[in-house]
């Protein structure tokens, strides 16, 4: 049982995953809505989730620097290991960069982000329409990238679980027992 992620890392992984699966469709849905109180509400919820992901991501990355993750299985070919590490690394970058780009975009568009309507985040950039539009494009592109990487990430996990029948996924599951 030593070659698993720590309980803390597993918990953070699944909470962040759940929040991404909430914030992503919400973001995709809300931006085309006609202006209404519901739209303003959804935007706020989306931002609150984003800030939460950002803070959890910071926690998770600092945890990881002090708690080495279990190594990938020896049986994996080099290219697979490389691919897995690359996807993991990029996902860590994105769970910071996407909320950050959203936060900056919001500031540039003249709307401060107030976490849960209670805690105002500083505006790191001032109101600027061009900058707001560029940051929107950045936020969207990063999300497309995230979408692709999450598909690869899930695909990889399922391949290990159901095709190779190894312990890769069990390392990150709170309830699955190791097969070996």
């Amino acid at each position: 049982m030593t070659d698993r992620y720590t309980r803390t890392a597993i918990t953070l992984h699944w909470i962040i995953a759940f929040l991404i699966f909430t914030a992503f469709p919400l973001g995709a849905y809300m931006h085309d809505l006609p202006l209404s109180p519901d739209k303003l509400r959804l935007y706020s919820y989306h931002k609150w989730i984003g800030v939460t992901i950002f803070l959890l991501a910071l926690t998770r990355i600092s945890w990881r620097t002090t708690h080495r993750p279990p190594p990938l299985l020896d049986a994996m070919p080099q290219w697979e290991k490389f691919a897995a590490h690359t996807v993991h690394y990029l996902l860590y970058v994105l769970i910071l960069a996407i909320p950050l780009s959203g936060w900056l975009m919001s500031s540039a568009k003249g709307v401060q982000t107030v976490w849960f309507g209670l805690l105002p985040l500083p505006d790191l950039v001032s109101k600027n329409k061009e900058l707001g539009d560029s940051l929107k494009a950045v936020h969207e592109s990063l999300n497309f990238l995230l979408f692709g990487l999450v598909l690869a990430h899930i695909g990889g996990a399922l391949k290990h679980q159901f095709i190779e029948h190894d312990d890769t996924l069990a390392r990150m599951l709170p309830f699955l027992r190791n097969k070996s």
Partner: protein
């Protein structure tokens, strides 16, 4: 040397006699507002307004002001919102293009501090309003600055689905800053 003394003396004398400040400098004047959306303060402004102001800084209590605001000139910082607030539920600015304030009295509330009361008319509804403001002379012009809370629903601004004040708060902070030059 004498001239050096006379000029400022004349200037002081003219102030003592009561110079009327009544020429608005639009480039150095503004009407802005802060609304709260989901508890987030969001700033906006009105690009077009006229202000007929006449104030004698030696006796500001006799001053008068009439401000007319072009509601369609609103800048919320978001084009969707600019269009939305022009609609019937908000300003209905096609039928009510102008919001106005006409002063009735000005009282001193402290050194350089005053309160103006008057009638605020928006969407055909006239209500009593008051606003504290400060007077400051600088570089030959008079600076009038103040702010007051306006309850938007008192004027049916943002009715229907927008009446939900948990999304857009009832209270909107209105800020004004007028720079007025002396009458020639």
């Amino acid at each position: 040397m004498i001239r050096l003394l006379v000029v400022p003396l004349l200037f002081v004398a003219s102030l003592a006699a009561g110079t009327e400040f009544s020429v608005l400098l639009p480039q150095q004047s503004s009407i802005t507002f802060v609304s709260k959306q989901m508890n987030v303060p969001v700033e906006g402004s009105f690009r077009k307004f006229t202000a007929q102001i006449s104030v004698d800084p030696t006796k500001p209590e006799t001053g008068k002001a009439r401000i007319e605001l072009d509601l369609a000139s609103i800048d919320t910082g978001n084009t969707d919102a600019d269009e939305e607030v022009a609609g019937k539920a908000w300003f209905d600015s096609k039928n009510n293009p102008i919001a106005s304030f006409t002063s009735e009295s000005i009282n001193s509330t402290g050194k350089g501090q005053y309160q103006v009361t008057g009638k605020l008319t928006i969407k055909g509804k006239a209500l009593d309003a008051k606003a504290p403001f400060t007077l400051r002379q600088a570089g030959g012009v008079l600076l009038i600055e103040g702010a007051f809370p306006l309850k938007r629903l008192d004027f049916n601004i943002g009715s229907g689905i927008w009446g939900d004040t948990s999304v857009v708060a009832d209270e909107v902070q209105i800020r004004f800053s007028f720079t007025v030059a002396a009458k020639k």
